[in-house]
Symmetry: C2
Subunit: 447 residues, 2 copies
């Protein structure tokens, strides 16, 4: 657990430490706050997160990345009027009197395939066989679909009078040369990548993916392939957090497990300084044995806050290595559920913002409580819930065991129910909000 | 465009061809249906899609994959009763009379760090300093948090009387040895990967990712890095479709562009037969020049349907190479918007099902039309719309140009508004359903 030396006081008693620099026994701490609300903490972390610089990458690997440049059309698309259908290019005026009773026959003088050209101007009474995407021959102004035409040898009989321009795609219908195709800030979808390909763009500037360094610390921790002997615990948080990073488009690397000695912590933390964001997770809270904070501070990290009034997840610290652009740092609690919930509330929004994304929040669902929840006032609770649709409502039921040590409560959770800090009861049947983790839950219903 | 030789009739006139084998001019066609509804087509494609076989992969790369085995706990977690807090392990009975007025002092006889052991039984009147995750020493039954204790030299003073078992995590609270941790069919979340790591599982059996072969066909097509000369079109669909595949967890490889000759088509299609799913996309509709279908059939593909009553996207064909497990085949229309919309309606659900996913549909949103839409009856329209939240409602507005050749209509679309086949008008202010493509739209509101 993160301890704050000069603040070894009951939780909640000290709301602010800063406004001026204060000296603790060991280091200078400026502006560090403690025991703050979830909303304050979220505002503080987002204030530090600016989109990362651009990098140029192959368009093929840019799905989901955020564009960091303006893309203009290098040429007009389509470059000339062309057919939107397989059929016959002709002059609408020739069919002015055509009807079912009096079909009009035109001479089919040539054929224009897609990719072909029709340079010889059509004269009155003439048509050209044409295929979708093929340029309209000079003289033609309209296309009649083949289903509406009867072909016979070199003639075609048509019993309708189309509007001038029917089934013709106009030059520049998609884009004119120089026109803006995609604006900076756009998240690149499959359709956008198709458009880029159409424009001949194979490289594109996007905001860099955040790189995250993951550090576990604790003498009791081992890697998952190790023999588990008495009291050993797998450093599983690094694996769950890596997956969470990947889920929001960030890359991560695992610095490994640091024993609880300043030298080992310093060596591993130094290896993470090249990252955009450094996450340390204590295997368990380390209380008196805590060396992470002094080592962070020795390396130039200035903590912004420690301790957020939430459960699970109180012992969370956030800071930044200075001078900028040193990495941001989150020191997450060691309990697996606490670490995952803290990631959801604070790290995920920061990573999305670093990647240039505009929206950083999970969707919220309005739910009905299936059972009464109680707690003491003071901390916002994030209750892991299962969700069920019934009679037009969504019912939320807490997962089995809400202990922050029980990972299965998070494995089973489809969402996090927000139980406000000052509230003490949410009665069965009342409404609440859930941060939706399992987007598949939305499938199969209309919202 | 796909043509059906024996069925060159007005659309909609022939609803079924099959029930018995019929001979066309070229090949035997069995059970091929044409001009079917979107719902029928969806049922037909899903009927052919079974989850792929399992493969064993590193757990670290299994995020989002669907588990294909039962995972049991190899050992009890936690293996013994342990502390949930930093504090003091003790016997609750010793504090039965403790209060603020009469605190009780206990002798701190040793310390148990996380990863340590406390083998010497605690006697009455004794406590052990303990840290989160550390095993409870014999004799102790309760932990008092350090915030509720005053330590002085080798003694600790406590002014509360805890319940027996407070702040203790019971052995097996997470899982007992042999208990099921994860069931087959679970989509592996970050939390599930954390649990797997805790169990020491580094390899896990999941359903294989679908492999998709992408083929473009058309004499007019070029790759995006080519010089665009008269009438040439970039084979952009392969790039957009590859991104769509990736977006639903499938792998794809690009077979390249086949010229419109049977020999070239056959060579490229053969190269795609190792895939689980083969997608051909005509650069433009090929009408009389169509060689794709006879080549597919020559190679053993049996078409299930051709032509779905939808817009964009009518000329869609679906089949399967036989005998099973030959790849499934989608022949998508060449218009970029048509191809993307067909992928959304049919290919995406199939790929998700192949990957073992249970939910295959996009979330639906109830929207209010901001303008009146009209069409002729007969085909379901998928109208590309922008979405806007206002006064508790979501308003849908069609994107600029709904031509199926205009890719920007799909780039800008946040959803596809479903305009039922037989409907002819959706009045401004009326309600409709939208298939939500842009899940970020859900952010920042409560649903």
């Amino acid at each position: 657990m993160w301890e704050c030396d000069s603040l070894r006081q009951p939780l909640g008693a000290v709301k602010r430490m800063g406004g001026a620099r204060q000296r603790t026994g060991r280091v200078t701490v400026a502006w560090m706050r403690t025991g703050i609300s979830v909303a304050e903490a979220r505002a503080l972390v987002l204030a530090e997160a600016q989109p990362l610089a651009a990098e140029t990458v192959p368009a093929e690997s840019a799905l989901g990345r955020v564009l960091a440049q303006t893309v203009r059309a290098p040429r007009t698309l389509p470059p000339a009027d062309c057919s939107a259908m397989d059929g016959y290019a002709l002059r609408a005026a020739d069919l002015a009197r055509a009807s079912a009773a009096a079909p009009v026959e035109l001479a089919v003088v040539y054929e224009v395939a897609a990719g072909g050209r029709g340079d010889v101007p059509l004269k009155a009474g003439e048509a050209a066989r044409i295929f979708t995407g093929a340029p309209l021959p000079p003289g033609a102004d309209t296309v009649v679909r083949q289903e509406q035409a009867q072909a016979q040898a070199a003639r075609v009989r048509i019993a309708i009078h189309p509007k001038r321009g029917d089934s013709v795609r106009r030059a520049g219908e998609e884009l004119r040369a120089g026109e803006v195709a995609l604006e900076p800030g756009v998240k690149l979808s499959a359709a956008a990548l198709g458009l880029l390909a159409s424009l001949g763009r194979t490289q594109v500037a996007v905001h860099r993916r955040p790189r995250v360094a993951l550090l576990s610390s604790g003498d009791e921790l081992v890697e998952p392939d190790a023999a588990i002997t008495d009291g050993r615990i797998v450093a599983s948080n690094a694996y769950a957090l890596a997956a969470q990073c990947s889920d929001c488009g960030a890359e991560s690397f695992n610095l490994g497990i640091a024993r609880d000695t300043p030298a080992e912590l310093e060596a591993l933390l130094r290896a993470g300084l090249s990252a955009d964001l450094l996450i340390s997770s204590a295997g368990v809270s380390v209380g008196d044995h805590d060396h992470v904070r002094p080592v962070l501070e020795k390396l130039g990290c200035r903590l912004r806050f420690w301790g957020v009034n939430m459960k699970p997840g109180y012992p969370l610290a956030f800071g930044r290595f200075e001078p900028p652009p040193g990495p941001l740092v989150f020191a997450l609690p060691g309990n697996p559920v606490s670490a995952l919930v803290c990631f959801e509330q604070f790290v995920r929004p920061v990573l999305l913002r670093l990647a240039g994304r505009h929206t950083t929040e999970r969707p919220l669902l309005r739910v009905t409580l299936s059972e009464t929840l109680r707690k003491v006032a003071g901390r916002m609770h994030f209750v892991r819930v299962r969700l069920r649709r019934e009679a037009g409502r969504v019912f939320a039921t807490p997962t089995c065991n809400q202990s922050s040590g029980v990972q299965r409560s998070m494995v089973l959770a489809q969402g996090l129910l927000v139980f406000d800090a000052e509230a003490t009861e949410l009665a069965a049947g009342s409404e609440a909000q859930v941060q939706l983790l399992d987007l598949d839950f939305l499938s199969g219903a209309c919202w």
